[in-house]
C-alpha cells in the first residue's frame, strides 16, 4: 500500500509542479493576485507531495518491503535502522527522490518566505522552480521510479553496499543535495530577473542568502565525502581529483565566485551581468555533476548507481534548463544597465580578481574532467589524473590566496595599497617565517609544502588581522574592543571565519601531502613495526560479530620508541555475507591535529611459516586541519546567513525545510 501511496504522491507532485509553473507565470502575465497565490500554493503542495512520497519510501525501507524493487536492491532486514534509512538515498532512484524533495522544498521556501521580493520577480522565480520541478519529478516518475513493484518479491533484500554503511556517508548525500539543489534558487532568480530585465543592488541582496545557504551546505557535504574517503577507503586519501569529486567541486567554485560577485553588485551596483552569469553557471554545474555521477560516462573511483540510458535523459534535462537560462542571458544581457565604476585598486577590483581566479580554476577543472570525453570520440581511452590538476589548479589558487587578505582591507571605489600593505606586514612576516621553518625542520626539502604552509598562514593571519583592526584590538581599551566585537555585523565575522578556515585548510593540505609517513609490514601477534617516532605492536587478532557482518579486529598498541604508551588502535576487516564483500575499518588515533592511521590487511604467511596480518600505518600530520578548515568555512557561511542586514528572514526560516530534506 505504501508503494502505491508513494507513487501516487509523486505523480501528484508532478501535477502540482506543472500547476506551479503555469499559474505563477499566468499571475505574472495577467497581474492577477489570485493566480500568483494559487501558484505559490501549488509550490507548497508539490513539496508536501514529494515529502509524502519520500516518507512512503522511508517507511518501505524501515519495514523492509522487498516487493519494491528499489528496496530489495538496497536494503536487508539485518541492517541497522540508520542504514535502512540511509538506504533511501543509497541508490539511483532514491537519491533522485531526495533531489526532488530538496528542489520542491526550496520552491516552497521561496513561495512562503519571499515576501520582500517584488511581486513579479517572485512569481517568475516560483514559476522557474516549477519548471525545474516538472523536469526532475517527471524524470523520477517516468524513467526512474523508486516505487516499482517486483512480480515475485524476494524473501531477503540485496542490502546496501557496505562501503555506504557508514555515519559520514549516511549524511553526505543529504548535505550535498541540499547544497547542489539550493543553487536552483539563484538560478531561478537569475532567470526571473533576466525576463524582467532588471538586475540591481536589491536583486543581488536577494540572491546572496540563498547562495550562502547552498554554498555552506555544499561545503559540509563535500567535506563529509572527503572525510569518508579518508577513513573508509583505507588508503588515507581525501581528494583524488576523481571525476565524481570534481563534479561536486565545480558548483562549489562557481557558487563561491557568485557569493563574492553578488557583494559587488549589492554594494556598488557593478558587474550585474557577470553575477547573473555565475548564478546560471552554478546550478548548471550542479546538473552537470548529477549527470556525470549517474551516467558512468567517466571512469570514477566513486561510481555508484550508474545507468547510461538514464544519463542520456539527464543530459537532455541539463541542456534544456541550462540552455534556456543561458539563451535568455545572451538575449537580455545587452539591455542591462551598466553598473558603477571603480578604480583598479579598490575592493571591487580585488573581488573581480577573486572571481577571475575562481572562474578560471573552475574552467581548468572542467576541462580536465571532461577532456577524456573528447578522446572518447576518437576511440581512445585516456584518464587525466592528479598531475594535471596539481599543475594547473594549484598555481591559480595560489595566486588567488596571495591577493585574498588584501581584499577585505581595501576601501570601496578607490583604495590605498600602501596602507593595506602596512596593515598586512605582520601576516607577511609570519607567513615567511612559517615557510622557512617548514623548509628548515623537515629532511626531504619540499618547496611546495613550504609555499602552501606560508600561503595558509598568510590567509589565516590576514583574516585575523582584519578582524583585529575592525575591533581596534590593542589600539583602543580592551573593553572598547570587546564592545566592538558584539557590534560588528555577523556577516563580517562570517567572512573572517570562512577565510580563516580556508587558510587552515591550505596549511593542512600542503603539510599532510608532503610529510605523511607510511609503513607496512606483515606482523604475527607480538610483532611490531616502526612508524616515525612511534612503535606499533600487534597484540592480538580477535573475531567480532556485527549486526550484519563478521569482522576480524586487530588490537594494536602504539607506543613511543622508549616504550611510553600512546594509544590503542583497533582496525577491523569486515565481511558482509549478504554482499559477499570485504571492507576495512581504519583504526584512528587522534594526536591533536595529527592522525595515526592504521589499516589491517589480509592474512599472509611469514617466512617462518606462521600466519601474520599485513598491517599498514600512516602518520598524517595536520590532517585534521583539512576537515576542520572547511567546517569553519561552512560555519562562517551560516553566521553570515544570520546577519540581519541580509534580510535573512527568508533563508533562516527556510532552514527547517532543508533539515527535513536531511531526515
Amino acid at each position: 500500500m505504501t508503494a502505491e501511496l508513494g507513487a501516487f504522491s509523486l505523480v501528484l507532485a508532478l501535477v502540482f509542479s506543472l500547476a506551479q509553473a503555469v499559474l505563477s507565470a499566468a499571475g505574472r502575465v495577467t497581474g492577477a493576485q489570485a493566480f500568483r497565490r494559487a501558484g505559490e500554493g501549488a509550490a507548497l503542495a508539490a513539496f508536501l507531495a514529494v515529502a509524502a512520497a519520500f516518507l512512503a519510501l522511508t517507511a518501505a525501507f524501515v519495514s523492509s518491503d522487498f516487493s519494491i524493487a528499489y528496496v530489495a536492491n538496497n536494503s536487508h532486514t539485518d541492517k541497522p535502522l540508520i542504514y535502512k534509512i540511509a538506504g533511501v538515498w543509497g541508490g539511483h532512484e532514491g537519491s533522485l527522490l531526495l533531489w526532488c524533495l530538496a528542489l520542491t522544498g526550496y520552491g516552497a521556501a521561496v513561495a512562503l518566505f519571499g515576501e520582500r521580493l517584488p511581486r513579479n520577480l517572485k512569481s517568475l522565480t516560483v514559476a522557474s522552480q516549477g519548471v525545474l520541478g516538472v523536469l526532475f519529478i517527471g524524470f523520477a516518475v517516468f524513467a526512474s521510479n523508486a516505487f516499482l513493484r517486483l512480480p515475485t518479491p524476494p524473501v531477503e533484500g540485496r542490502s546496501l553496499n557496505p562501503l555506504l554503511q557508514d555515519p559520514a556517508l549516511a549524511l553526505h548525500p543529504p548535505f550535498l543535495y541540499a547544497g547542489y539543489v539550493g543553487l536552483s534558487v539563484p538560478f531561478s532568480l537569475a532567470v526571473a530577473a533576466l525576463i524582467e530585465g532588471r538586475i540591481d543592488a536589491a536583486w543581488a541582496r536577494w540572491v546572496r542568502p540563498w547562495t550562502l545557504a547552498a554554498w555552506s551546505l555544499l561545503t559540509v557535504g563535500i567535506t563529509l565525502g572527503a572525510f569518508w574517503a579518508y577513513y573508509e577507503l583505507g588508503w588515507g586519501g581525501w581528494w583524488a581529483w576523481d571525476p565524481v569529486e570534481n563534479a561536486s567541486f565545480m558548483p562549489w567554485l562557481a557558487s563561491a565566485a557568485l557569493l563574492h560577485s553578488a557583494v559587488v553588485t549589492e554594494k556598488r551596483g557593478a558587474l550585474p551581468g557577470w553575477t547573473v552569469f555565475l548564478a546560471l553557471l552554478a546550478f548548471s554545474f550542479s546538473m552537470l555533476g548529477a549527470f556525470l555521477v549517474r551516467s558512468g560516462i567517466l571512469t570514477s573511483v566513486h561510481a555508484f548507481a550508474v545507468d547510461p540510458t538514464r544519463g542520456v535523459i539527464l543530459v537532455g534535462i541539463m541542456l534544456a534548463a541550462a540552455g534556456a537560462g543561458f539563451g535568455l542571458f545572451a538575449w537580455r544581457v545587452p539591455n542591462l544597465a551598466p553598473g558603477g565604476v571603480f578604480a583598479p585598486i579598490s575592493r571591487e577590483a580585488s573581488l573581480v580578481l577573486n572571481n577571475l581566479f575562481l572562474a578560471v580554476a573552475a574552467a581548468v577543472v572542467f576541462v580536465g574532467t571532461l577532456f577524456p570525453l573528447l578522446f572518447e570520440a576518437l576511440h581512445k581511452t585516456i584518464s587525466i589524473g592528479p598531475p594535471y590538476f596539481n599543475l594547473t589548479f594549484a598555481p591559480l589558487m595560489g595566486a588567488a590566496l596571495l591577493v585574498l587578505p588584501a581584499g577585505p582591507l581595501l576601501a570601496w571605489k578607490r583604495a590605498d595599497l600602501k596602507g593595506v600593505w602596512q596593515r598586512l606586514m605582520l601576516a607577511a612576516a609570519l607567513a615567511a617565517g612559517a615557510a622557512i621553518l617548514t623548509l628548515a625542520l623537515h629532511a626531504p626539502i619540499a618547496v611546495f609544502a613550504a609555499i602552501g604552509v606560508g600561503l595558509g598562514v598568510w590567509v589565516a593571519v590576514g583574516a585575523l588581522l582584519e578582524a583585529a583592526q575592525r575591533v581596534r584590538l590593542f589600539k583602543a581599551p580592551l573593553a572598547e574592543s570587546l564592545r566592538r566585537v558584539g557590534g560588528l555585523p555577523r556577516g563580517s565575522w562570517g567572512m573572517t571565519l570562512a577565510h580563516l578556515g580556508l587558510g587552515l585548510f591550505v596549511m593542512g593540505a600542503a603539510y599532510e601531502t608532503a610529510y605523511r609517513v607510511e609503513a607496512a609490514e606483515v606482523l604475527a601477534p607480538g610483532g611490531s613495526l616502526r612508524l616515525g617516532a612511534y612503535v606499533l605492536t600487534l597484540d592480538s587478532v580477535v573475531g567480532v560479530a556485527g549486526p550484519n557482518y563478521s569482522a576480524e579486529r586487530a588490537r594494536i598498541s602504539v607506543t613511543r620508541a622508549n616504550g611510553a604508551p600512546v594509544c590503542k588502535a583497533e582496525p577491523e576487516r569486515r565481511y558482509y555475507p549478504v554482499n559477499r564483500q570485504q571492507t576495512s575499518e581504519v583504526g584512528l588515533c587522534f594526536k591533536g591535529l595529527n592522525d595515526l592511521y592504521v589499516v589491517a590487511g589480509d592474512a599472509r604467511a611469514l617466512p617462518n611459516g606462521t600466519e601474520g596480518r599485513l598491517i599498514r600505518a600512516y602518520w598524517n600530520p595536520w590532517v585534521r586541519l583539512i576537515f576542520l578548515g572547511p567546517l569553519l568555512m561552512a560555519i562562517g557561511g551560516a553566521l553570515s546567513l544570520s546577519d540581519r542586514r541580509l534580510r535573512l528572514a527568508a533563508a533562516q526560516r527556510a532552514a527547517p525545510v532543508t533539515a527535513e530534506a536531511r531526515a
Partner: protein, 164 residues
Amino acid sequence: MAWLPKSRKARRRLTIIAAAAPILAAAVGLSLYAMGDGVVFFYGPSEAHSKAPIGRVVRIGGLVEAGSVARAADGSVSFKVTDRQVAIPVTYRGDLPDLFREGQGVVTQGAFDNAGVFRASQVLAKHDERYMPPEVARALKARGEWKRGEGQGADQAQTPRPAA
C-alpha cells in the same frame, strides 16, 4: 595617456581585460603543459605491450585472472590482468581495494619494467560490485569476451534477482 579610451566605462573594461588576459593566458599555457604529463592512456592487455613504452605511465584494465593472485610476506602482491587471450603480469605494493577479486574487472595504473612486468602504483577501487569500468567493458567487448550478467553488468540493477 592619450591612447586610452575617453569614457570611464571603456577604460574600466580595458582594465578588466588587461587583468584577465594574463590569468587566462597562464591558465591555458599551464593546462596545455600539464596535459602532456597528466594524460594517462588506457590499454587492454592485448595492446598494452605494443603500445606502452617501458617506463611510460599508462592504465591497463581487464579481468583478474583466476588463480593468479599471490601475496608475498613483504606486503607486495602479484596477479595477472587478462582479456582471456593475453595475460599481463602485474606487481603491486599496497592495499588492494576491498572489491578486488579474481575473475572481476580491474583497472591498474603504472608502468612496464624491463622484464615486461607491469609495476602498478595504483589499483583502482570500485565501490560497487555491479559496476564495471567502462574502458574494461569496452576492451572486453572488443575482444568478444563480454557477456551480459557476468556479475558486472550495470543492467542488473534494473532487473533485480532474489538474494542468493
